[in-house]
Amino acid sequence: MELFRLDAMQVADGIKKREFSAEEYIQQLLERIDRVEPKVNAFITINRKEAIDKARSIDKKVRDGEPVGPLAGVAVSVKDNICVKGIRTTCASKMLENYVPPYSATVVIRLDDAGAIVIGKANLDEFAMGTTTEFSKHGATRNPWDISRVPGGSSGGSAASVASLECAVSLGSDTGGSVRCPASFCSVIGIKPTYGLVSRYGLVSYANSLEQIGPAGRTVADVTAVMNAIAGSDRNDHTTLDMKPDYSSRVPDRRFRIGIVKEFLSGADPEVAKVVYNAADILTKQGCKCEEVSLGSVEYALASYYTIAMAEASSNLARYDNVRYGFEMSSEGYEWNSYYAKVRSNFGEEVKRRIIVGSYVLSSGYYGKYYLKAQQVRSILKQELKSLFKTYDLLMGPTMPILPFKMGEKIDDPIKMYLVDIDTVVANLAGTPAISIPGGFSGGLPVGLQLMADEFQEQTMLDAASLFESVTHVQRSPDL
């Protein structure tokens, strides 16, 4: 049996029923990784020894009749900006080339408690800044559906590793669409939870007020199980809310009122729009009520998003000065200011660009013009969404306005690159949840469908995703 093809729920079930051992499963996955990594490059670090050790300890518990957790033995890849104790966490940057965190992120501890096994650290755009996973010191990740194309980003390694059957599920981080975009481009499911639902403790900050850790997986049931493991308040993160949800992935009886966001479709590639309208037809046939709605302030969303994200990034990334941790570079003979300048020239181009723009928008005299204005747009957008969610359970549109594009196509044009985030940044600005689910294909390339719900309405989102999944059969992994 090809164990690496199994979904997370099948894996946990099979291990608990002793149909196969966790060790066999992990061994097969490691072989799979060795086979496909040369094509995909989804991982920065592969956690061979520890993964096998953990698998053995789970097998022992199963033999001894001890409880092993709902994700027993399930292989998870973790984006390399989420700390796992004892494993280097590079953020795909030269600046953290040798950084080994002395603690694990809350989400990692929770997954470990649920029995999951960290199989490796997934590739990303440097410090999660990008939409293609091309800005990585460890080389670009490629789209498993067409390795000449980008897998999306910044959690490209996460989505690609799931689609390539190198792991069952993955943890990514979503600051402006970084989980949903690659989920869309790789035909897997990706969630951006409500702000404050999942602890960010241990996630290397890019833009604190926007980002959340979220899962990627091949089935609604899998991402639901991961959400159940990681969501809920954490005393190490003051921005988490006091709650412990328990989500279901059963196909619901309920039918939904869905608003199709006009602005998301008008700017989209017609091929992409076609898939979205087709999905709306499918849902309508199932008894949902779909109608077109307008979200006027989308027009200002990108400007607002990039202003806030870059402002926060410019400050968050100030700590990388190579004084306390980082990479090999002697400070002998430098005055500290010149040492900082020398050290920090090692950031990649995109990161430097964002630090510079972020510093500019915060500088005295410009704060009101940019940062405060961006925050105003943010609250207007929130209000507009709030009023739409009085009428609609969900808002729908494409996750990405375009199909996965060729590697290198947009890398030299940052504005073009930023523009494709138009549909995803809305949920980050508003703090509301969103999910990308495989909607279909166009010319062999995946198209993701984005569903957005009101804050803390993850269950509504998952219900609609389960309903859609139950009546469609969109392929989740390509032949590699």
Binding site: I82, C83, T89, C91, L96, Y99, P101, P102, Y103, A105, R200, Y201, G202, L203, V204, S205, A207, N208, S209, R235, N236, D237, H238, T239, A311, E312, S314, S315, A318, R319, D321, V323, R324, Y325, W336, N337, Y340, S359, L362, S363, S364, Y367, Y371, L372
Partner: protein, 478 residues
């Protein structure tokens, strides 16, 4: 020319026990370098600040005690600048440019005799780490960084430029220090736990900041130096630059900062990881209720209930340690004025200026409140006279012996036996015959004889009784 002085006082909230945003201890002193740190205060990637509720309460107390308005909601801002003692290369602090977010604003404090100074704001922030040099900063071949202090809660008190005289600054600083001691928020005896920067302008000219002043006595000195410097420049029509000057402790002068501190842009923005804190409208009254007795009230009580003079009460109050000492002694023997006078006039004579500066007045002394209480009782009961008592105190300060013990050992108790005193007077009369003759016609000469009696008894004689005996004997002889 009109002089305007404003102050920035930094006070560590050692009473909060933990750092401002993590659970590491405030006690960083004397620890091995970089041992009092955790991932959060070391600014490791992925860590998040966790605000100490206790520090907010203590800062609230300071704000309330300084008469500030405490807002219903406070927030933290990032102050961004690169410096090796900052683990994150930004400092979490508070900022009022886009709405009031600091712990307190618009306060006022009375000090001295009817003077007052306005408090612009009280804010809570993190202390940076420490840079350690070999010798001086200028000549050291390296700089070592110790992050043990990084993240210790710091309250910054900023006054309006309401001072004209460095002496007033000193009085104000003494009052503030006593206030934070009484609140129990800061152990002021710890080195560097209270720091003060000052800014000065004369005749409406540019403002000069003075930094690096290590003691309050030096604040006064630095201000005097700076005012003289600015006045002499102004009198020669030389423009005073707006700049930061450092106090040179060794040479006792202010000097231009070696590093050019250009106008920094700190790019303040609200800290996203610490949601704004709703204190609520009840917070100020809750804080006020939990506050201990403050110096002004205590001074009033010392005067009205225990009959101390305002001056003596003020000296005691200016240092909580001294006021506590007084109260403990008084509870042993209720002789408040006697005890207070012994503390203020005599005991303080044994404390050197250094110790006063360090706010640990009584640390080196072997005298306890019990000693002073007993001394006061011995004097009050007439067992020893004042001059003997002073010698007894001197001895007790040296050895820690109880005053009664000292008296017994040195046979210094007063000569009560009139026969014994009579024998001494007789022998003085015999030895000083010419003075005796003088005394018969000149009253002052009797005092000379008394002096001889006191000398012969090493001060143990009761001067009143001795004088009576002398007069009696003179009358007998004439």
């Amino acid at each position: 020319m009109e002089t305007k002085i404003g102050l920035e006082i930094h006070c560590q909230l050692t009473g909060a026990k933990s750092k401002l945003f993590c659970s590491c201890s405030c006690e960083y002193r004397g620890k091995e370098a970089n041992s009092n740190i955790c991932p959060t205060c070391a600014g490791l990637p992925g860590t998040l600040p966790l605000l100490s509720r206790r520090a907010v309460e203590l800062a609230g107390m300071i704000s309330a005690a300084l008469g500030c308005t405490v807002p219903e909601e406070i927030a933290f801002y990032r102050k961004n600048y690169f410096y090796p003692d900052l683990p994150k290369n930004f400092q979490l602090t508070q900022y009022n440019a886009y709405g009031i977010t600091s712990m307190g604003v618009d306060g006022i404090m009375q000090y001295g005799d009817g003077k007052s100074a306005r408090i612009r704001r009280v804010q809570l922030e993190e202390d940076p780490g420490r840079l350690v040099y070999e010798g001086s900063m200028e000549t050291s071949p390296y700089a070592l960084i110790d992050y043990n202090r990084a993240g210790v809660p710091l309250v910054e008190i900023v006054t309006e430029p309401d001072f004209a005289d460095p002496k007033d600054v000193r009085l104000f600083l003494d009052k503030v220090t006593s206030l934070i001691e009484h609140l129990g928020v800061c152990d002021t005896r710890l080195e560097g736990s209270v720091r003060c920067d000052a800014n000065v302008s004369v005749g409406g000219g540019n403002r000069v900041e003075i930094k690096n002043v290590s003691s309050f006595a030096d604040v006064e000195k630095a201000l005097r130096y700076e005012i003289t410097r600015q006045n002499s420049m102004a009198s020669r029509d030389i423009e005073i630059k707006s700049e930061t000057r450092h106090w040179d402790d060794a040479r006792k002068l202010t000097k231009e900062s070696r590093t050019k501190e250009e106008e920094q842009d700190y790019r303040y923005f609200p800290e996203p990881d610490v949601p704004s804190i709703v204190l609520g409208s009840e917070f100020p009254s809750l804080v006020s209720r939990s506050m201990p007795e403050l110096p002004d009230k205590r001074k009033e009580r010392f005067i009205s209930k225990h009959g101390l003079s305002p001056h003596v009460a003020q000296v005691l109050i200016d240092n909580k340690e001294l006021a506590d000492f007084f109260e403990t002694a008084m509870s042993a023997h209720y002789l408040p004025r006697e005890i207070a006078n012994w503390i203020v006039n005599d005991l303080m004579g044994f404390v050197d200026e250094q110790q006063k500066e360090e706010r640990s007045i009584l640390a080196g002394l072997k005298v306890t409140p019990g000693h002073i209480a007993e001394l006061a009782r011995l004097v009050d009961e007439g067992t020893i006279n004042r001059s003997i008592a002073q010698q007894v105190l001197a001895q007790a300060v040296k050895t820690g012996e109880m005053p009664s013990q000292v008296v017994r050992k040195t046979h210094s108790s007063r000569i009560d036996d009139s026969d014994e005193l009579g024998r001494v007077v007789d022998s003085v009369f015999k030895a000083e015959q010419s003075a005796v003759q003088d005394a018969k016609s000149n009253a002052n000469a009797a005092n000379f004889l008394l002096g001889k009696v006191m000398a012969a008894t090493k001060g143990r004689a009761d001067p009143k009784a001795a004088l009576e005996l002398i007069h009696k004997k003179l009358a007998e002889q004439s």
